[in-house]
Amino acid sequence: MNKTKRTLVSLIAGVVLIGMTGAAWAQNTGTNLASESVIEIIKKRGVLRIGLDFFVPWAMRAKNGDFVGFEIDVGTRVAKDMGVEVEFIPTAWDGIIPALMSGKFDVVIAGMSITPERHLRINFSEPYASSGMLIAANSKNVPGLTRASDFNKPNITIGAKRGTTGVDSAQKQAPLAKLRQYDEEVVGMQDAINGTIDAYFSSSPVPERAVASSEGRLYLPVKETFDGSLESFAMRKGDPDAIVFFNNWIRLRKHDGWLKERHDYWFIGNDWSDQVDVK
């Protein structure tokens, strides 16, 4: 009897204790959310840590080893507006979302397109850029084509980079064509130049740049970009302050024309090419 009673008492005590902790938690949640936001952490640390990987012309390495690119301009400006230092942390693409989720950097600014699969794991801000597909086609193998659907033939081979929107676009536009996936864009483009494949699908401005330097071996069948995507800052879930801050930053810089000016510099103009091109 005594034993049952003691068990009962400790059981009740346990339940009460757990209940109390729960109540205390609930009370603190409101204040904790604000003070635990990554924005507060950045301010306290004095450094904004940005995760990125390399894509032309989003982020590249200049000849002096510096980071250059659209992404770099955006990241530097965000940090400047916050009044903190900026730290870019290059991370291989496959590791970038896990590293963000476990807090290795504050935000990913890496030309990451919004996809529903990614969105299930992380939060996206409002888009700060948009991009679209273009095709670089081999002039000898497939001359005179003018539409993306012209490539939808079983005797045509298309290349695209694994895990990118180029693959999705190629499958959508030319489901009958053979698709070859590459780990490196430069290698796929080289195959298109050599005629090993007939065309290469990639985000603008990669195809234009390849065509320009191919001495007529490649041409652009489609002039206007298609299959557009939206690029956003990515951050951890459960941080409303961060998402509001970055959203408003993007809205402001869109409205005052800064984002468009920088985007045009990197994506439409070619003034920057001597920073990375060897010749």
Binding site: G51, F54, F55, V56, M60, R61, A62, K63, N64, G65, E87, I89, P90, T91, A92, D94, G95, P98, A99, S102, G103, K104, E184, E185, V186, V187, M189, Q190, I193, N194, S214, E215, R217, V276, D277, V278, K279
Partner: protein, 299 residues
């Protein structure tokens, strides 16, 4: 005995060698012609020196550039990784043949758990779960950030940029743990390959077990394990490229960055292959030298 035979033999070219060499030259030339006829690619090797060392056009100063930093990072990983893996491997190897059941269980569990998990998964587990809990507790990063002067330079030379020191240590830990599991098995095999008579002889002159291990068994075991250890070391160098997943800019990842930025993909990858070859081949030479030295010492 062996070395004197090797030295005494002089090399003479016979007609068969000449024919074989000629054939190789013909095949290489043919492949080169075929490749250059079908491949449109403008070779430009200037990309390699440019990204190895950068000269500031205004001041004329030279400084190490991306590829050189990558080489340093890979060498740092190799050096510390080898050191730590050898220590863990030696300790665990001895545990594997210990008479203590607990030590045998611990070392066996370690080896099987580490060897049978893909290294990428291991990197993710250690980096995201283990080290993100342990590193802040140890406070290494905070301590390193507030150092200055000679101490800071020393830390940066041995472990790379301060900002990424946690990543470097985590990567190093994974690499060392992963390779040490193989080292453990190599050392266990080496110890067990020493004949039972050696143990008995050591025991019969009154040496305690650990002294038999230290003075009789280990010297013979180490000598036998040098060739397989060298092989595993070379794997370590090449496996070190996995750490780019956790933001460490080793040679492979630096090379990828340069190749993407400049589009000179062939030159960069050929250069990187040559650097890995030089590092690994030097390790082979060191191991061969060690092997010879130790066999001389034992005779």
């Amino acid at each position: 005995m062996m070395s004197s035979r090797g030295r005494g033999k002089t090399f003479r070219l016979v007609w068969l060698d000449a024919v074989l060499l000629g054939l190789i030259v013909v095949v290489v030339l043919y492949l080169w012609r075929r490749a250059s006829a079908e491949v449109f690619y403008r070779w430009d090797w200037s990309v390699v020196p440019e990204y190895l060392f950068y000269q500031n056009p205004e001041t004329g100063d030279w400084r190490a550039n991306l590829l050189m930093h990558g080489i340093y990072a890979t060498l740092r990983l190799t050096f510390w990784g080898t050191l730590i893996a050898l220590i863990i491997g030696l300790v665990m190897g001895c545990c594997r043949v210990s008479r203590n059941l607990f030590l045998r269980l611990v070392s066996r569990t370690y080896v099987e758990a580490t060897r049978n998990i893909p290294p990428l998964v291991l990197i993710f587990i250690v980096y995201f779960f283990v080290s993100s809990q342990i590193m802040p507790l140890l406070g290494i990063a905070d301590w390193a950030r507030q150092t200055d002067g000679a101490l800071r330079t020393m830390i940066e030379v041995s472990f790379g940029p301060i900002a990424l020191i946690e990543n470097f240590l985590s990567g190093l830990l994974v690499l060392a743990l992963f390779e040490a599991a193989y080292f453990t098995e190599i050392i266990r095999a080496g110890i067990q390959s020493v004949e039972k008579g050696q143990w008995e002889a050591g025991g019969s002159i009154g040496l305690p077990r650990y002294k038999v291990m230290r003075y009789v068994v280990m010297p013979q075991a180490i000598q036998r394990t040098i060739p397989p250890l060298a092989g595993q070391l070379i794997s370590l160098v090449k496996d070190s490229s996995m750490v780019s997943l956790i933001s460490i800019q080793d040679l492979t990842y630096s090379g990828t960055q340069v190749a993407i930025s400049t589009r000179k993909v062939f030159e960069i990858w050929i250069f990187i292959a040559v650097v890995y070859f030089v590092i690994c081949f030097s390790l082979s030479l060191v191991s061969r030298w060690l092997e010879r030295r130790m066999s001389r010492g034992l005779q």
